[in-house]
């Protein structure tokens, strides 16, 4: 009871302070951050972490089980899986971060405008409804089938599949924010629309978008792996976690490590992003925190 009273009396804390409080309450979020920092370091420092050229082919060394010499074994072409997995982290992290940033930016722009311009709203939302009714992996598959395989195209394809959900979120935020007295006051005093968006609406979308962004990052990394796994993603010559596992598709009975190591790295990274996202959501959206 006392605690509840105290909580009510405490003034609304700024975003970063709420984040810090939440991380203190959720040690798992800290674990997520630590793992992510480690992954980023691995991606940046992969040339100096005891790796060899991830593309170097060595036919004599084909399909060797993990050993002291090849920590994660070798693949069908004799390439060192440890090096490939470490270098692969670059692709997953790039795709995850790029898709999250791009889809938030595009979704934010479309959502802000449609939230304020009525006639545009109806048209854009029908298009978004249509896009959202195509399961996102399928949509990305369709795009990849028509373009040449490249990391850039993978990012664009997954971004396009994620944008409608961001637009939805931003639009719903804008629709409730524009009814707020301070926005009505700004409109009444003749503030121009771009300024209203920039000054009154945009700052209020930051917290939910930050949370949404981490979840998009997590799902983009999984989607990239799925696309690469079924042969519609990152070009086969670039080592990505999905690609390493794709090559193991027909070999998993004799070379399970080809799935195990990249799969483990991918799962742990995605888990870390999800834990970070859960921690941020609890910090920035106290209403949801109680329930989820």
């Amino acid at each position: 009871m006392t605690q509840a009273v105290l909580a009510v009396q405490r003034p609304v804390s700024p975003t970063w302070q709420r984040l810090r409080d939440a991380f203190r309450r959720h040690p798992t979020a800290i674990v997520g951050v630590v793992v992510l920092v480690a992954m980023v370091l691995i991606a940046l420092l992969s040339p100096w972490l005891g790796t060899v050229d991830p593309q170097a082919i060595s036919p004599i060394q084909r399909l060797k089980q993990p050993s002291m010499e090849h920590w994660f074994g070798t693949d069908t072409l004799g390439r060192d899986v440890y090096s490939r997995v470490l270098y692969g982290s670059r692709i997953s992290l790039t795709v995850g971060i790029a898709v999250a940033t791009l889809s938030i930016a595009i979704g934010l722009a479309i959502g802000l405008v449609t939230g304020f311009v009525r006639w545009l709203d109806a048209v854009v939302m029908r298009v978004m409804d249509g896009l959202m009714s195509i399961p996102s992996v399928l949509l990305a598959i369709a795009l990849m089938a028509l373009t040449r395989a490249s990391v850039g195209n993978v990012i664009l394809a997954i971004t396009l599949a994620e944008v409608p959900r961001v637009v939805r979120l931003v639009r719903s935020l804008v629709l409730s924010l524009r009814e707020q007295p301070y926005v009505e006051a700004a409109i009444a005093s003749g503030t121009r629309l771009p300024l209203i968006l920039l000054r009154h609406i945009l700052p209020n979308t930051v917290a939910p978008l930050l949370v949404q962004g981490t979840y998009i990052c997590a799902s983009a990394m999984i989607t990239e792996a799925i696309l690469s796994f079924i042969g519609a993603g990152t070009p086969p010559n670039i080592p990505s976690w999905g690609n390493i596992m794709a090559e193991a598709r027909s070999l998993f009975q004799i070379a399970g490590y080809l799935i195990l190591f990249p799969g483990l790295f991918l799962s742990v990274t995605v888990l870390a992003v999800n834990l970070l996202g859960d921690g941020m959501r609890d910090a920035l959206d106290p209403r949801l925190a109680r329930r989820m």
Binding site: S133, P135, R249, F252, R291
Partner: protein, 313 residues
């Protein structure tokens, strides 16, 4: 009610029209010559020209789109570039494995996930709750195919309890059919279960905080009766909604699962079509899956009145 159903049907038709327009215009929106991309790197100019003609790329956009929609409405999804067979026929041959897999997964996942969510909500804050929530975060983080290989490694290769891969039609007996679907369903259903359990828990927590639950407690009703009779029924709307939305996970997951387990279903057809860049087949599959997805969510919308009589259309 009737007016509402008609309006929802209208909205659904618009959505499907947008999907059709989008899937069709992808051929034109993508940079470069789609015919050249579909033909692949070793294609000759003749090959590309043949594909251009087959896809009708030489005609104006509106003529092409009109013709395509017209055929679509007659149930013609076009012809596969690779096999020269009608896409509807190719899909038709593959329906049974995919329907078996997704339907079995859906039913089993719902039967497990909803009780999990209810228990987690009833014991919120305890270790049971944390276990369920932990499972759900973990399940969101492991990709379907990694989980699939882990399951194969454990249950098929190490323990030899279940077949590694393949599919047996239901006509060859119930057990052969089921035994080939247990692991695929488990792999496919895990993330779906995590999603449903999570939302069920959240919805139940909301309902359990209501006054009528306190009243039911106060009048001495058994906790189980309160949970099932009062709480779960009132938490029905968000739960049924997420069951509908989650079907997207099943559809995407089926493509991967069928690849890992060598199940000759529509998902496998899709992957083969991607590798051969057989765009008419991809188009057909996307339209079919999106149509089913939209239809399921329409049914979900219409079922709200059953769970919550306060909702009137």
């Amino acid at each position: 009610m009737i007016v509402y159903i008609l309006r929802r049907l209208g909205a659904t038709l618009i959505v499907m029209a947008v999907v059709a327009l989008f899937v069709f215009s992808l051929l034109f929106l993508t940079p470069g010559d789609p015919a050249a991309v579909i033909a692949g790197d070793v294609a000759t100019a003749d090959d590309i020209q043949r594909i251009r003609a087959k896809l009708g790329l030489n005609e104006p956009f509106l003529v092409q789109f009109g013709g395509w929609v017209g055929r679509l409405l007659h149930g013609d999804l076009g012809t596969s570039i690779f096999t020269n067979l009608p896409v509807t026929k190719l899909i038709g041959q593959r329906v049974q494995p995919t329907v078996s897999l997704t339907l079995l997964t859906l039913v089993v996942a719902v039967l497990i996930a909803v009780p999990l969510g209810v228990v987690a909500a009833a014991r919120a804050g305890t270790w049971t709750d944390r276990l369920v929530m932990g499972f759900s975060v973990l399940a969101f983080s492991v990709p379907v195919f990694v989980l699939a290989y882990l399951l194969i490694g454990l249950f098929s290769i190490r323990l030899e309890w279940l077949p590694v891969q393949g599919y047996r039609p239901l006509g060859e007996g119930f057990w052969p059919w089921l035994s080939h679907l247990i692991l695929p369903s488990l792999a496919l259903g895990t993330v779906y279960m995590a999603l449903i359990a999570r939302i069920t828990r959240a919805a139940m927590l909301d309902v359990l905080a209501q006054d009528y639950i306190r009243t039911a407690n106060a009048k001495g009703l058994a906790p189980r009766a309160i949970l099932m009779g009062h709480a779960l029924k009132n938490a029905g709307v968000p739960v049924i909604t997420v069951i509908g939305i989650g079907v997207a996970l099943l559809i995407s997951g089926a493509i991967v699962t069928e690849t890992v387990f060598a199940i000759p279903g529509i998902g496998r057809l899709t992957v083969d079509a991607i590798l051969r860049r057989d765009y008419p087949v991809i188009q057909g599959v996307i339209l079919l899956f999106s149509g089913i997805y939209v239809l399921i969510n329409l049914l979900v919308d219409l079922s709200y009145t059953f769970f919550d009589p306060r909702i009137r259309y």
